[in-house]
Amino acid sequence: MSATQTWAPQVAVTVIAEVREGRERALEGLLHSMGDGVSNERVIAFGDLEGVHFARLVLAPPVDPRDASTLILMSDVDGAQDDHLAELAERQGDGIDAVFSHCSGYPDAPAGVPARLAFLRERAVRADTSYVNRPGRTVAQVRDEARLRDAIEIYLDSARPQLETCSALDARAQVQAFVAGDPRLAFAATPAPEPRLGERVRSALDLARLPATLIVLAPLLVVVAGPWIVLLRLHECHDPAPDIRPDPAAVALVAGLEDHLAQNSFTAVGRLKPGPFRRLTSTALLWVADWATPHLFAHADLAGVKTIHFARWVFLDGKSRLVFASNYDGSLETYMGDFIDKVAWGLNAIFSNGVGYPRTNWLFCDGAWNEEAFKHYIHTHQLPAHVWYSAYGNLTNANIEQNAQIRAGLHGRMTATQAERWLELL
């Protein structure tokens, strides 16, 4: 049973820590003991924390083997980043100690809450772009609405003989009465929570961020547009785009961690092509993407891809590397196919700034459309995530959306046709 539902924003928390020299092996062993693609919750119990949708721990090897590896903690949570970090420090202190004591700068054991929290805060970075499938929908809401759906389905199984001869409107009324009569479904007496006024104002102001910036920068943009296009074409024609076959053992390792739930995690890290052109271009594009996701893609649909729950891009190492992490429905082959079939243009714009990406033209064209070279690029950059937590691993976005519509349809007046459509959701 959950607390009262409220509308709450989701935040992509990222903590980046450098692994101490000589501790990679030990940390790797620890991470392997914490999950086989799905977190076993033994060392850090993400599920015991408030409002965690997804979480993972990954180890990114260095570009130069003489350098340190990077440990990245990523979680998608309801509410504020600082509350989440504080909860980690307070309620999962032993687990945080066990993991992060392998990292440089971690306080000596016993770390104590304040020192632990200071460490996490210091290494927490804001995602350069974050995407939320349905902003505002909390873990509690997702779970409650799934319970609602399950309860109605069981009711329908038994009530079907009586309902069969009903009109759609009468059948809906019966379902409404059933829900109203079950105290465990009391939350459904009201529609899903809406954002408060303050949140709506904040969102409206944020919407103005891009146009305002464009107006301010217009004179500059007019001047740089021409040279930028020339530079882009020069880079595109001369950047090497080798099609490197992935190491089968690495692919098999990742495949062994995948497909345990209805969802999967995807984590990749890649180097940016050297020089300021790619760094500036990717910074600008991610800034635009970060503006666009909550305003243009806030309705369970990222430019045609409906299977992504959360995603983020985060620069690493002073913008010399870029991490992409997502949580999605189905298998990697489906996911890559969706990338190509539906959002190749968007991936091209961002990932073509990375070393080894298939050759693009005019930023948006070709690239991912080179199907196999793109899939090789994905495989060669993917990192294994032994420790991955999902709060509702058996639910696809399609399920979650449908559950939300079921709840919404309990309220208000409907025509007979609307009632028929609503009953089709069940």
């Binding site: 329908l156 759609a168 009468d170 059948a171 098999a252 497909d259 298998s331 190509i340 539906k342």
Partner: protein, 461 residues
């Protein structure tokens, strides 16, 4: 233009007129002698240029077989990982649903507990006698000590209905460039089914290449771009799976679940077509043989909610036609579907069940070993067979489904599967679906072009 004389004929024909067929799995006992066996067998092999042949023979190889024949390393490395790892790699078994009773450990062939399979012979003739005649000289050639028979799959010509009693094999993709016509949505670029031609992305699918110096006499065609020689061109892959069907169990369940209703209606909802083959979208209320071969239909506009053909029905998920995101009902949706088409070449095995008696519950439970030797042809196993098997057929989350694996061939939770039949005013939910199909064997094969076979047959140690 397709180089028909270099392509094995099975790619373009299913040989419906050749009623007798047998698939023979061979193991290599001596590499040099096995290569001689292959070279000697090539004249028997039927090419795609032979129209309506009186008999047909084909030869395919597993990755293990190619390794044993000492194919050069660069060529082996050029095959995709799903082929080189094979069907029974553990992570693959999990996603293909080959677990529990279908786990490879219990397979009759192709699994870890049975003899390794290196080669596959596929033989077709008009009748049993002609099949023996075709097989005899090939079997005699085993005597050189190169290969030995490991397992044999016999087939049964029981008509155009599979063992549950439904007409099968109606919807097939049409390979572009062969001069055949049909609805545009079924015409698929040749590269989806033959290596060396443009696929549905307008690209050449990755294929095994050998360095020029590994083919000094130039048996293989030259891959234009790199100067390497092309072992893959005109070849393709075969997915072979023995799917054992529990016909009495299927109809027992349909009778019980239908209660006072008609078990044939319930079973047809599970299949998505009526026993005659008529699609539920075209004939929603009763079987209509007038639509038996209907294949020019979609789901997005006629039946988006599945009130005629349930979203979870077998044919709707094995080939979703125009119902895929992002824009169901459009050419864009069909274009996505085209990248996941299966060209099916399987045959039934075992005695036909008395389906009428099973439907009425008057038959005895005849539990003979029967089923389908599923075979599909495709240039990209991962994007075609494996994708369809895991994302559409095997996934309880296909489209907007909640927990419905394929009612006919899917794997269900221990307590039984769920099948939702949309209806007005409220859906019907059938629960407790048992397993009707068990996988008894399987492997991935490379079906080389004729020149590639010559090359393999002429390799030296």
């Amino acid at each position: 233009m397709l180089e028909l004389e270099d392509i094995q004929g099975l790619v373009v024909r299913g040989y419906a007129h050749l009623q007798a067929a047998r698939y023979v799995m061979l193991g290599i006992r001596d590499a040099a002698a096995a290569r001689r066996f292959i070279a000697d067998t090539i004249p028997t092999i039927t090419t795609a240029a032979a129209a309506g042949p009186g008999r047909a023979a084909h030869l395919a190889l597993t990755a293990a077989g190619l390794t044993r024949l000492e194919l050069p390393q660069p060529a082996l490395a050029g095959f995709p990982p799903e082929f080189t790892e094979g069907m029974v790699a553990p992570a693959r078994s999990r996603v293909l649903g080959d677990v529990g009773e279908s786990a490879p450990e219990a397979w009759a062939w192709g699994g870890p507990a049975t003899d390794p399979i290196d080669l596959l012979l596929l033989l077709y003739a008009q009748d049993a006698g002609a099949l023996e005649e075709l097989a005899r000289p090939i079997e005699a050639a085993y005597a050189n000590g190169g290969v030995a028979e490991v397992h044999r799959l016999d087939t049964a010509a029981i008509g155009d209905r599979e063992h549950f009693g439904f007409r099968d094999g109606i919807s097939q993709p049409i390979i572009a460039g062969l001069g055949r016509t049909g609805p545009a949505e079924h015409i698929v670029r040749a590269g989806e089914f033959v290596l060396g031609y443009q696929n549905e992305y307008g690209l050449l699918t990755a294929r095994p290449l050998v360095p020029a110096d590994a083919d000094p006499t130039g048996v293989l065609p030259v891959a234009a771009a790199t100067g390497e020689h092309d072992l893959g061109r005109n070849g393709t892959y075969l997915v072979v799976r023995q799917m054992q069907q529990d016909a009495p169990g299927f109809w027992r369940f349909a009778r019980e679940a239908a209660g006072a209703g008609d078990p044939v209606v319930l079973a047809s909802k599970m299949v998505g077509r009526w026993p005659s083959g008529a699609p539920l979208v075209a004939a929603p209320d009763a079987d209509d043989p007038a639509h038996a071969a209907a294949n020019g239909f979609g789901y997005a506009n006629t039946d988006p909610a599945g009130l005629r053909c349930p979203v979870g029905a077998h044919v709707r998920r094995a080939n979703p036609r125009d119902s895929l995101d992002p824009d169901p009902g459009t050419a864009g949706s069909i274009a996505v579907n085209r990248r996941h088409r299966l060209l099916r070449r399987g045959r039934k095995y075992g005695p036909a069940a008395d389906v009428a008696a099973l439907q009425s519950g008057t038959g005895t439970d005849d539990t003979s070993d029967r089923g389908l030797h599923f075979i599909c042809v495709g240039a990209n196993i991962a994007r075609q067979f494996e994708f369809v098997q895991r994302a559409w057929v095997g996934s309880p989350k296909f489209a907007t489904l909640y927990d419905d694996a394929d009612p006919l061939i899917g794997r269900h939770a221990p307590l039984g599967g769920t099948f939702t039949i949309p209806a007005r005013p409220v859906r019907r939910r059938v629960t407790g679906l048992p397993q009707f199909v068990t996988i008894r064997g399987g492997a991935y094969f490379f079906l080389p072009g004729i020149r590639a076979l010559h090359y393999i047959g002429s390799l030296e140690s």
